[in-house]
Amino acid sequence: MNASILTLITFLPVAGAGMVTLLPKRLLPAFTLLFTLFIFLLTLHLPAHFDTARHGFQFACNLPWIATPAIHYHVGIDGLSLWLVVLVGFLAPLGVLVSWRVIDHHQREFYSLFLLQQTAMFGIFVSLDLMLYYAFWELSLIPITLLIGIFGRKNGRAAAIKFFLYAFIPSALLLVAILWLYAKTGTFDFVLLQSQMHTLATGANATGLWLASLAFLLAFAVKVPIFPLHAWLADGISEAPTAIAMILAGKLGLYSLLRFHVGLFPDQAAHIAPLMVALGVIGILYGSLLALVQTDLKRLAAYATLGALSFCVLGIYAFTAASMDGAVYQILSESVSAGAFFMLLGILYERYATYDMAQLCGIAKKLPGLATLFVITALSLIGLPILNGFVGEFMILSGSFQTHPRLASTATLGVILSAAYMLWMLQRVFYGAPSKLVAAGTQADISGRERFALWPTVALMLVMGVASVYWMRAIDATVPAFAPSFAPVSITTRISNYARMTNLR
């Protein structure tokens, strides 16, 4: 079971996609919901049997696949990928729930592509062979592009093409770098590569290594996205259907940065870290400032996402135990909160068919249930203590303060700004005088299906806010070791201190 569970989780969605093409149309959402819930339950097997005391990869499966070139089917997870796999499992049923009524044409295509992209995401997080990893990386691109293009709003096609070009060109370079590594070492295996990297780092390969590390960095940075490569994000998110907006940004790129950029090229990463930290801080401020001036709710959410993801970049490249753990925790909590936020926006759009803030005013009176959930989610995104957003942000800021005090204190401005745009938005959309559209409308408050999607998510935000140690145990067992050995500040402050502080216990 332990050796094949990851394979099972990864490839079950493909089987589901196959079944979706055969089922009658009216059963599709229900079937996909049950199917993704089942997969989510399977992913819960992982944390239940994950041994935090053990080093290296767990649930691993390493089989020779192709002899020449030497490609292995090698999957496994560690504390970094453990919760990301569970996260992918968690978000999928939510995505189905919000698509239930919205997707009213080509449902078969929608659900099969949706399941296909889930396989690709799982594959990316569990692959330990670069060729396998790249295969999934490529595979993730096509379903997402098609989903944005077909099911997006009116400019969906343009946004899809923009997304595709932004993602594909750097990943072509990524493949060049992967092939270069293979040409130099004769292996695609991540574990072997990692152990061979120091022998590879000789004078003759210095330029090659630098170029390869930059190719890796570029491909991942676009996927995150990191400022200034974020141009696809706002269009992509604002055009994409809700289920895709929830998963579009962040985790793939950030995970890959940590695992493959920092993990394979520690020296180069350490050298380029100050730049990345600076870009992270710029991203935080830039995203927040742009969010402040948006009139379209979904674009606001897109720029808020950019800000939140830039916190993770700052955390990763500050290279302290606290900041890196915080960054990984922030990936999880941001995905949950932003996921909930996008779901709520989707629900709002279902009711009013607009994201325009000028037309949406004073909703709280009409839809109190929705307003409650909205406020909690927004507060979690701001980073209010006892909610999940606080833990990650606090650890990132305090951790990076040790290595980059000036930049970290600048980044703190981002927290204030995010509170500003979120609260302002809440005030206008929910508590102002009702606009014409809202006053005239007789839209129903949040429905049972929507409650079913949102309340668990909101509950999770609270739990993640107060009991972060539960998640942090696995993360802290793995992630700080990613820091380059000569990271500027030694890892003295163990995570338990932070956990205690953030839990307010």
Binding site: I66, E109, F136, V176
Partner: protein, 501 residues
């Protein structure tokens, strides 16, 4: 080594020729109204026998026959199997293509068989004149096949165009052979290799090499010798295009491999840059050309130019792995391209009712299975992971990287991103556009033979993408006949004047 009867070395060719002659002889004996299907089935059986014979040849010790003109080794067997497979599938999918439209189609089967004989000869010949014979046999048959929709002007135009330009290109090849003979005193590949290694008359040899590259470049439709491709593919019957966009290319690539790797191995400093340029030009021109096309067959024609470019990337690597990658990619490309054209031939029928992209709008509703198969072929052409196209490209670019061609690899990979657009456009036409019932054309239901052919191709695409080990081993064994110790790089080859035993 025990003597192997020379006839056994060309057993597949003999079997196919006999089948072809029998089909040809029987054809006029049948009345005009009789169905020609039995002849097609007979041709199928002959093909199966030839494939079995090729597979059996693997057990023969590698060696030459007919005064050093023919050489059977793992390499030639690989291409024999490939060409035999393409022929088999083409026969399967075209078994009903002419029903009720054209008479005397017996000769169609015969021509297909003869053309395959020519191609097989090309792949096992190590004597350039024998190569030329094979080239002529296969070319002349395909010229006629291109014009086989007899009453269609476009088809006739395609045939004439192909014939005129093709014979011109063949003349180039022949001229190259003649110059080669002038420079080295032989037309045998191995003697040429010795002559080339001796370093005498390099200018003449370079000229000969250039001439042969032009001739073969035409056959594989590599830029800048690609101009004929869209016109011919547009006019020729779709099953024939599937055949002639893969099998003759495979044969021509095999010859190109023999000439460059074996014959002119020591002059690689001349042909590597040339092939480098041809590869870049083919990929870029092919993909950019395909982007602007709305005619499906023209689009796939440009895509085939681009795929010839990817193949040339593997050539340029000039290593055992590069050779194996080239062999593998030919097979992968054959599976997906024959498949794509077979589906087009089914959906648009004999009179080519569906020519433009918009004619395919929403067809997934009407033809779910055919569209699903098409989707698999298109995804493989894009190079989506877990299909033949992905692994083929991956292997090609891996070997090119091994030889340090990182600029070429970068250009190639960026190109494959560009390519995704026009394939996806076709795919989204099939699946995402509303179906126009007014355009409804009642197709004959798919025949079992056709379904079998498509099933074979789909299986091939998936097998080559997911569990390619068997085919890889054969390709690598073929490559090893050129590079005795596997993994030899180009630098070491230079020190060995005679690459073969």
């Amino acid at each position: 080594m025990t003597a192997v009867s020379p006839a056994l070395r060309i057993l597949p060719e003999i079997l196919l020729t006999l089948t072809g002659v029998l089909v040809m002889v029987t054809e006029p004996l049948l009345s005009a109204k009789t169905s020609r299907k039995p002849l097609g089935i007979f041709a199928l059986l002959g093909t199966l026998a030839a494939i079995a014979a090729s597979a059996w040849q693997l057990h023969l010790p590698a060696g030459t026959a007919f005064f050093n003109t023919i050489q059977t080794d793992a390499f030639s067997v690989f291409f024999h199997l490939l060409i035999g497979g393409i022929l088999l599938v083409t026969l399967l999918v075209s078994l009903n293509y002419f029903e009720g439209h054209s008479t005397y189609v017996g000769e169609f089967y015969a021509l297909l068989l003869f053309s395959a004989v020519g191609m097989m000869l090309m792949t096992s010949a190590i004597e350039l004149l024998m190569v030329f014979l094979g080239l002529e046999i296969s070319s002349i048959s395909t010229y006629i096949l291109a014009g086989y929709r007899k009453r269609s002007a476009v088809s006739a135009e395609a045939s004439i165009k192909y014939f005129l330009l093709g014979s011109f290109a063949t003349a180039f090849f022949l001229y190259g052979v003649a110059l080669c003979f002038g420079a080295t005193g032989s037309t045998n590949i191995h003697s040429i290799a010795t002559g080339v290694a001796s370093g005498s008359s390099p200018l003449l040899l370079a000229l000969a090499l250039g001439m042969m590259l032009i001739g073969l470049g035409f056959k594989v439709s590599a830029a800048p010798f690609h101009v004929w491709t869209p016109d011919v593919y547009e006019g020729a019957p779709a099953p024939v295009v599937g055949f002639m966009s893969t099998a003759p290319k495979a044969a021509a690539f095999a010859v190109l491999l023999r000439i460059t790797y074996t014959g002119f191995g020591t002059m690689s400093h001349i042909w590597i840059p040339l092939l480098w340029i041809m590869a870049v030009a083919s990929m870029t021109i092919g993909n950019l050309g395909a982007l602007t096309q709305r005619n499906v067959k023209r689009m796939l024609a440009y895509s085939s130019i681009a795929h010839a470019g990817y193949l040339l990337v593997a050539f340029t690597a000039f290593s055992a792995d590069g050779l194996a990658a080239a062999c593998f990619y030919t097979a992968a490309y054959a599976a997906m391209n024959v498949g794509a054209f077979a589906i087009i031939s089914y959906l648009s029928g004999y009179d080519e009712r569906r020519v433009h992209l918009q004619d395919y709008a929403g067809l997934a509703k009407r033809h779910p299975l055919a569209s699903a198969a098409m989707a698999i072929f298109l995804l493989s052409l894009i190079g989506i992971p877990f299909t033949a196209g992905f692994f083929g490209k991956f292997y090609v670019f891996t070997t090119a990287m091994h030889s340090g061609l990182w600029i070429l690899v970068t250009i190639g990979l960026l190109n494959s991103g560009l390519a995704a657009f026009y394939y996806l456009r076709f795919l989204s036409q099939l699946y995402m556009q509303p179906y126009d019932a007014a355009q409804d054309i009642s197709e004959a239901p798919a025949q079992p033979a056709f379904v079998l052919g498509i099933a074979i191709l789909v299986a091939a695409v998936l097998v080559l993408g997911i569990i390619p080990n068997r085919v890889l081993r054969l390709a690598q064994a073929g490559a090893a006949t050129y590079f005795p110790c596997s993994g030899t790089n180009a630098a070491e080859v230079h020190t060995q004047p005679n690459l073969l035993r």
